[in-house]
């Protein structure tokens, strides 16, 4: 069974509270308008639609900003759909927007769960809308089987970035010592991939010892508790902490701070959220990886929009433009300031016409 793939560590699936899951979605549906319409626009220009899990985590909030920026750049009406972790709601909202626009729309979606991608793509094809999916889709669902409407699927491989962060951590420790690792929910694909990257890095650095690895379920709170226990168990032996996402990394930093050791033990995360970048600037974290959700939210729409408006014909594009890995930005103390100034302090400036600029190879399915 394909488990939920969590794009960002920020949103935890409701494992222990699954009995309340349906109620949760219900509650949220009441708390948020399902469809946030930003501005009305001239008929003819396709409506641009982002469908994401929620607006309550920094990752998707930034994604949404990117989408809004792109819509503004092309003068299109912009709609945000929020699934709140409920696949049925996600699919129903998409069908509603397809009906409302008569198919004159482009959709950039982070499907709540892999199986959701198929009915969504089929609905878009039937309505004549153009769609780009990110992160989650079944392995046997391919854009080229739904020409031209299913324009592309974008994902990020966790392996190279998990490895890059481990490398940055090891480098900051001077190439030797003991580390501990905080993993995401064990069944999540990103958690598995990032961990695989960590293991590769460890194999290449025999002087570094993995003291322990614990699952902290993407949560800063749990990471703080695990780190606390490690500080007792391993004490000075801990030279670095590798975390599979930024929230857990920041939790570890706070545990170190309460112990008076923040900045003395290296910590790395992945995701590139603002607080993590700031922590890198302050020297409390050794690095993180920015997926650039701003790019994901805007460029996903830009690719679909270009196809919809006839700028290119998806069916004539090579497969490495149809199912590709995006490029993450590795942030360490060397480039943190530059990244911060360009992407966080100021509104990021992206060239919406450079649609293949970050395509780095066709996705491999095992």
């Amino acid at each position: 069974m394909v488990k939920k793939i969590i794009a960002s560590g920020v949103t935890r699936p409701i494992m222990r509270r699954s009995f309340l899951k349906a109620a949760a979605a219900f509650g949220f549906a009441g708390a948020f308008p399902a469809i946030l319409i930003r501005s009305a626009n001239a008929a003819g220009t396709p409506t641009v639609v982002n469908s994401i899990r929620s607006l309550s985590n920094p990752y998707h909030a930034t994604w949404n900003k990117g989408g809004a920026a792109f819509a503004k750049a092309v003068g299109a009406e912009y709609v945000t759909l929020v699934t709140e972790g409920n696949s049925e709601k996600g699919i129903a909202d998409i069908k509603a927007i397809l009906a409302k626009t008569g198919g004159n729309c482009v959709i950039n979606i982070d499907p709540n769960d892999s199986p959701d991608a198929r009915p969504i793509v089929e609905a878009c094809k039937a309505a004549g809308a153009y769609v780009v999916t990110q992160w989650n889709k079944p392995a046997d669902l391919h854009p080229w089987d739904f020409n031209p409407n299913y324009v592309a699927h974008i994902s990020f491989s966790g392996v190279p970035y998990g490895k890059a962060m481990a490398a940055a951590l090891i480098k900051s420790m001077g190439g030797k010592g003991g580390i501990v690792a905080l993993g995401g929910i064990e069944s999540n694909v990103p958690a598995i991939e990032r961990k695989a990257g960590l293991m590769q890095a460890l194999k290449e650095n025999p002087d570094v010892q993995l003291l322990d690895m614990q699952v902290a379920n993407w949560s800063g709170k749990e990471a703080l508790e695990k780190t606390n226990a490690w500080l007792t168990q391993f004490g000075e032996k801990i030279g670095g902490i590798w975390a599979a996402n930024d929230d857990m990394a920041l939790g570890a930093v706070e545990a170190l701070r309460a112990d008076g050791r923040a900045g003395k033990v290296s910590v790395t995360g992945i995701d590139g959220i603002q607080l993590a970048v700031e922590a890198v600037l302050k020297g409390e974290m050794a690095g993180t990886v920015a997926w650039d959700p701003y790019w994901q939210g805007g460029m996903g729409l830009a690719i679909a929009f270009a196809a919809k408006t006839g700028k290119f014909d998806p069916s004539k594009e090579p497969k490495e433009h149809r199912e590709f890995y995006g490029t993450g930005v590795t942030i360490t103390s060397e480039n943190a300031q530059t990244f911060y100034d360009a992407n966080i302090k100021a509104e990021p400036k992206l060239d919406w016409n450079d649609i293949w600029g970050r395509a780095s190879g066709q996705i491999q399915y095992n």
């Binding site: 509270r17 614990q214 699952v215 606390n228 309460a258």
Partner: protein, 333 residues
Amino acid sequence: MTTPIEQITKRQPQPKRIRRWRVATWAPLMVLVLLCIIVTFINPNFLSFGNLVRITQSAMIPLVLGIGATFIVLMGSIDLSVEGVVTLSAVILSMLVLNGANSNNLGVLAVPIVLFIGSAVGFINGLVHVRLKVPSFMTTLGTWFIALGAANALLGGMSTRINDPFIRGLAVVRFMGFPWGVWLALFCLLLALIIQNYTRLGRYIYALGGGEDLAALSGISTFTVRIATFTLAGAFYAVGGILAAAQLGLGNAQIGTGWLFTTITAVVVGGTSLAGGQGGVLQTLVGVLIVGVLSNGMVLMGVPSSVQIGVQGLMIIAAVALSIDRKLNRIVK
């Protein structure tokens, strides 16, 4: 007073001492001690001062939340709004004190505001529960999401870094070796003990837990007691929110996630009956420590992550099974 009653001196057999030594009352404490012994045996570092401080640090938030929840559970109700109130309090606090997102700098003044907001959510819980006769389970489920939604709306999904030295100090600055947050939690415990043992509200909470009709028949305004108790619990959750924000150094819409489970577990494991009427905040302290020592100890003992959550589940069942006095459940006529 002339007391003809005192003339009644007939048939005075020895007082029957039916009181028996009840394992149930002491089971949680014994479990805690046993747990400490086992963990120490496997990893003597457990008893180091540094680790004790770390356990108290991780226990301070569940303790404060558990205190609030204990009062609710004693009444025979349940409160699911813990995470909502914690999140809302932490988010509002992070926006009022010196922070990385706006220019507010209310400092300590933000604390009463946050306490007020927590109490207000609790008050609404009580009012809806009592006036509209909505079961507390559903009422607080609703306010949980309303409070979460409000927190989302306020922050738009971003995290706010807290730079206020007083708030951060709760987690970082120490007094006699323990962070100030731990002392704050202990102060809350003291306050709760006074409320529980020395105020009418405390007594009436037990009476309500013993039976709603019975309390009413004793002349207690059950509506007022219920509303007051939910309000009180809301205030404690707000303190929990402040501590959570202090500990992570930020406020965001996820900060409350997971606390409901921990809180209810601690209350129940401590021996407060979900049926109401039995238990108290000291029991919850024991429950919090059991949960804290167990999760700390499992890492110290090198228990695999995948097993840990299962062990926690087993512990809940075991603790509740130990606390229930089956002999009491016989029907006595």
